[in-house]
């Protein structure tokens, strides 16, 4: 049997010779990820495409054929040109290059997704861990509050909030986050409740480790794996929700390039100028799809006992 973790010291001269752990249990998660990349082709392809999308977003000012079209530039004399040599994706109703707009749209969508997930996790996970670990009345109060937010469907809550706030990227982030964090709180609470009864928490309590330290060092790190998996799975959902919000006109506003907004503005032109809807729409689909595929892959990678369900 080969040792898959060469960095480790040679087997200790421990007096017991019980069966060594199986190789699957050895090695770090990075190693498992690499192994997965070979094994889980879809997730790998998803990750590569996503990387391309991220690169396109980050490098849009340099890669896009008409960088100005990503924000303020307009070309009223070149409107609704079909896809072709000059404009691969065609132009929109004010003459902007759609390829450029779609690339800049990736910036918006990815920013929103990252911000929403960060905010949601930062709010939800600590609350959930506190609720799950503390239990009792604290848990009841926190979980009932999350229930209230959960009963508000994310999109409707976002709609309600976006009407209140000045529509824009920032308010879209806030609106979606408000509907999103309870999921993390709930998940973290369930996980933390489970961890609370694990032996190492009891051991820490018996050692006299403080509550805060137990939550921070023992409960939180162990509650994080499902959260990380969920984050990657949710990225697609956030992209879809933010696109839906923009489609309803409640998200980022002109001249921000945003896929949902582009679909909404183009939908009446779908019959005559299909490209105005098709390209931003497909961009949403592709991004969400890749995130979902990658998320599934990560789940089976980081959650080994569910490997079969891959």
């Amino acid at each position: 049997m080969t040792d898959v973790s060469p960095t480790l010291a040679p087997p200790a001269p421990a007096p017991d010779r019980s069966a060594p752990p199986t190789p699957a249990a050895r090695g770090g998660q990075a190693r498992r990820l690499l192994a997965l990349a070979r094994r889980d082709l879809p997730a790998t392809v998803g990750a590569v495409v996503l990387l391309a999308i991220v690169l396109a977003a980050v490098l849009a000012p340099w890669l896009a054929p008409y960088p100005g079209d990503g924000s303020h530039a307009t070309h009223p004399l070149d409107t609704l040109a079909g896809p072709g040599g000059r404009h691969w994706f065609g132009t929109d109703a004010v003459g902007r290059d759609l390829l450029t707009r779609v690339m800049y749209g990736a910036r918006t969508s990815l920013t929103v997704a990252a911000a929403v997930l960060t905010v949601s996790a930062l709010v939800g996970v600590p609350l959930g861990v506190i609720a799950g670990y503390t239990g009792g009345v604290v848990k009841d109060v926190i979980m009932r509050i999350t229930d209230v937010f959960l009963a508000f469907p994310a999109l409707l809550l976002s709609v309600a909030l976006a009407t209140v706030l000045h529509p824009g990227t920032g308010s879209a982030i806030i609106a979606i986050s408000v509907g999103w964090w309870p999921w993390y709180a709930r998940m973290a609470c369930v996980t933390a409740t489970g961890i609370r009864s694990r032996g190492f928490v009891d051991a820490a309590r018996c050692l006299g480790v403080s509550r805060i330290r137990i939550m921070a060092r023992h409960v939180l790190p162990n509650a994080l794996t499902p959260v990380l998996v969920q984050l990657s799975l949710d990225a697609g959902g956030v992209i879809l929700t933010s696109a839906a919000l923009s489609y309803l006109g409640l998200g980022p506003q002109e001249p921000t390039a945003e896929w949902g907004l582009m679909v909404q503005q183009g939908q009446d032109l779908f019959i005559t100028d299909w490209w105005v809807v098709a390209f931003p729409g497909l961009a949403i689909l592709l991004t969400a799809f890749c995130f979902n595929v990658l998320g599934e892959g990560l789940r089976s990678a980081l959650d080994p006992h569910r490997e079969l369900t891959r």
Binding site: S71, T74, P76, L77, V94, Q265
Partner: protein, 533 residues
Amino acid sequence: MARRLRLPALAAALAACVASVAGCASGTPPATTALTPTFTYSYPLDVITDWDPATSYSNELVALQNVYESLTRYDPGTGTVKPQLATSWSSTAGGLTWTFHLREGVRFHDGNPVTAQAAKAAIARTIAAQGGAAYIWGAVSSIDTPDPHTLVFHLSYAAPMDVIASSDYGAYVYDTAPPGVKPGALKSWLEAAHDTGTGPYTVADWNQGQEAEVTLDAFPGYWGGWSGRHYRQVVFDHTPDVTTAWQTLETGDVDFRSQLNPELFKEATHFRALGTQATASLQNLIAFFNTAAGPLTDVRLRQAVQNAVDYDGLLAALHGSVGPAQGLIPSGLPGNDPALTRHQNLPLARKLLAEAGYGPGGRHLNLSLTYAQGDDAQQLFVTLLSSDLQALNITVDARPMQWNAQWAQAKATDPAHRQDILLMYWYADYASAYSWFVNLFHSAQPVSFNLSYLDDPVVDKEIDAIPQLTATDPAAERANYALLQRQLLEQDAAAAPLFVNTYQRVYASGITGYRDNPAYPDVVFVHDLEPSP
């Protein structure tokens, strides 16, 4: 027009969902109409918001103009007023007294005869209701009925009563005492989809919230008669989605659509089964600059923005759905002046900005702008304007808003909370340029529609003089318009007219006799149409 159409429902809608049409249109329509039963009109908005002809001030005119009639009707082709319920009229005493002679033998749909007394009662009721467009009768101090077919208006100040009487809203002549309806119950009776008009059609059915919202039946006793080919029934389909509208046009399920979009309109011109008609409307989009507070109090900045607007680009991008703004007054109305057409002048804009210390290399300027949410043309303009101004080191903070919110902000008590630029469509209630001046640029406290907040006593005085001139001296009136427009648009630079909407109608090519009358926006006078045999 859109100023009203885009407002949320202005008057009470009805509680009853399914209205029966007892008592109306009981006669059989003439046999000649039997061949072509139904004219179907596809309309993007809810048709009915108010059934009461006194207060109606919204979308329902497309139906009500076929049900009710006014004393006169405006003809944009000639720029004159034509007889309708009144056969002739005259004014005396410098436009302070107007006498209308009513058509004889006309009956309301409820069977009552149309008399001067009935007409007076209707107008009096409209004035008393104080809703909708009742203000058009503002000049009227009293009404006389010397005989059953003569109606005399006494005015407190000179006003063009013949034009006012042709107004698309508030000028209906209707029966205020239909048989079997208690005097106090008229409004609720009307709200149950009843009518007391004199027009060629009468309300048959109303299903609020449904696709086929309103059905009108021919009124057999119509004074205009039914000889020749006419439609026996009119159905108004509420179809917000242009894709749906397009498909129903293609399949022949509808005969007329008020507005698609420029691309589909172009597509329709290639279809033999479809007729198209593009007509310049009397509705224009105006950008109002805040002359009272904020950076645009500096007239040079207002002028700079005016010159930065790419008027021709806007026209090109809107693909024929709008025409050029020739000053404040749309073509088709007295006072329109093609010489006032503007073009982009970036060097001048840059120079003006530099003088004020802004522009490229100067200070950065932030302008807040509000416009109507969901309006594609406004959205497009805002995008283009932002683009042009960005190049001039000016950032536009544009907010699409519901009209109510937009208007509330515009009227904020603290001027600092008001926007710098506001977009609004304007359309006259009756065919006169006066409406633009008095509503938009006459000082008013509290703020109403004077959204550039101009407070210039000289301008006010000039505006106040217009009605008198309209009624007495049309030439002087035009001179006054020219003077005012130069003052407002060039010296004060209080606003920038951006474009005039073009109505792009699509209809079944078998129909003959259709001519768009922009004075009655979106209205099809169905009785005038001749269906294909």
